[in-house]
Amino acid sequence: MDILNTIISAIYYLFIAFISVLIIYNLIKTKDWKKEVIYIVILMPFLLRLFFLK
């Protein structure tokens, strides 16, 4: 159970890292400034979790 939890947690953090990369990729690609703001706002909780802050 303990090992299973650790594996699932690790996958979860990899997933967060992957989504963060996708958001940053979209942020670079987009030409609409409103979308840029939205991508940055969406990215914040992902970064906070990725760096183990909240």
Binding site: M1, K31, L48, R49, L53, K54
Partner: protein, 387 residues
């Protein structure tokens, strides 16, 4: 890509990064803030991990304070911080650890039953991360917490939480709720292991009476009450009568539902020899219709929007412009504990617990909680414990 567009992206990203850094610093400081406890040389400090290896070294390997009397008697375990967003439960436990003397029996106190939950506040809740109780030396600061274990310590949550051993389906988030994971599992999640560790403590210390201290929103029907397992119903009823008659505040009794699993008042009674009680005090801070969710509201318990809810008959406890200050809520808990010991002694004269030097309801209100907290700056290093 045009230069203009690049400059805009860089500027927006920098602004976002600044917000993340400032928020990150606040979250980090909250998670690592050290609260102080000043203890007398009669207090023994153990760790929860001393009772169950599986919790050793984890965020929930909290301090366990033990005060033993000269004469043998009953052993009582007092849990503060089962739900760390209910500060009166923790503060009442703090007053016990820093002030209580035991003549007969043994008192075991925990300040942060779910320590992980004290290191985070509700995501998007805009809660204050800390609060300060005024004292003669300036003030003592405590971590504000959440109802659930920190997602950094236990994640992800399942789709449905299946309680062990009952098999009852509970809300997914309650797999991180210490008061839904009793009696716990040795190989379960962090929160389940924490409950399992307390069950080991109860067994190894031969605990006779467990008291779990909480607070509730006024829009929740279980409030201003003692919730009792059937093994503690008579005791709770006597305590409720005595407090209502002699201390000037009313507190009811509720019987722990047999089919609602994971709660301390149900599972500790079912899975150990201990009598199990849970106390609820009123905390307007938790009400859904509250105003600004700040430190002031948390400590003063005043809120015009909760009063408005009362005018529409939506509350299960009275609420007026005086609110429910933290001193009143903590005083209710200390008096209810002391009265429980006194009533216990009437039922079990062969197994007494005699406790003194803990302030009662009227004293806490008159002098304030801060009067009974000990100044760590003046204390000997050996007497300071970090929580």
């Amino acid at each position: 890509m045009k230069t203009k567009s690049i400059i805009r992206k860089v500027l927006l990203s920098t602004a976002g990064l600044v917000i993340v850094v400032f928020a990150g610093i606040e979250f980090y400081q909250h998670r690592h803030y050290k609260e102080t406890v000043v203890i007398g040389d009669w207090v023994e400090v153990k760790k929860l991990g001393d009772y169950f290896e599986g919790i050793q070294g984890s965020v929930n390997d909290c301090n366990v304070f033990i005060i033993e009397g000269d004469e043998p008697g009953a052993t009582s375990l007092i849990l503060g911080g089962s739900h760390p967003e209910e500060p009166a439960g923790r503060l009442a436990a703090w007053l016990m650890v820093e002030n209580a003397r035991i003549q007969t029996g043994k008192l075991i106190v925990v300040l942060s039953a779910n320590r992980s939950g004290t290191t985070v506040t509700r995501p998007s809740g805009a809660y204050p991360t800390k609060y300060t109780i005024p004292t003669s030396w300036g003030g003592q600061t405590f971590r504000m917490g959440d109802r659930w274990s920190n997602p950094l310590d236990q994640w992800p949550d399942p789709e449905v939480y299946i309680h062990c051993p009952s098999g009852q389906n509970l809300a997914y988030v309650d797999i991180r709720n210490l008061n839904r994971t009793w009696p716990g599992r040795a190989n379960g999640t962090l929160t389940e292991k924490t409950c399992y560790a307390y069950m080991q403590l109860i067994e190894k210390e031969k605990v006779d009476l467990v008291i779990d201290m909480h607070e509730a929103e006024l829009q929740y029907p279980v409030i201003n009450t003692i919730v009792a397992h059937e093994n503690g119903q008579e005791l709770a009823t006597l305590v409720s009568m005595m407090l209502t008659d002699f201390e000037g505040f009313s507190i009811g009794t509720e019987f722990s539902p047999k089919n609602l699993h994971g709660l301390s008042h149900r599972e500790i009674g079912d899975h150990s020899d201990a009598v199990s009680l849970l106390f609820e005090a009123p905390e307007p801070f938790l009400d859904a219709t509250r105003g600004i969710t700040g430190e002031k509201q948390l400590l003063e318990g005043k809120d015009e929007f909760v009063i408005k809810a009362g005018e529409h008959g939506l509350l299960f406890a009275p609420m007026d412009e005086n609110g429910w200050p933290i001193d009143v809520r903590v005083g209710r808990h200390t008096s209810t504990i002391l009265q429980t010991f006194e009533s216990w002694n009437e039922y079990y004269p062969e197994k007494l617990i005699v406790c003194f030097d803990v302030p009662r309801y009227a004293e806490v209100i008159k002098n304030g909680i801060g009067f009974y907290l000990k100044n760590h700056e003046e204390a000997d290093n050996k007497t300071i414990v970090f929580e």
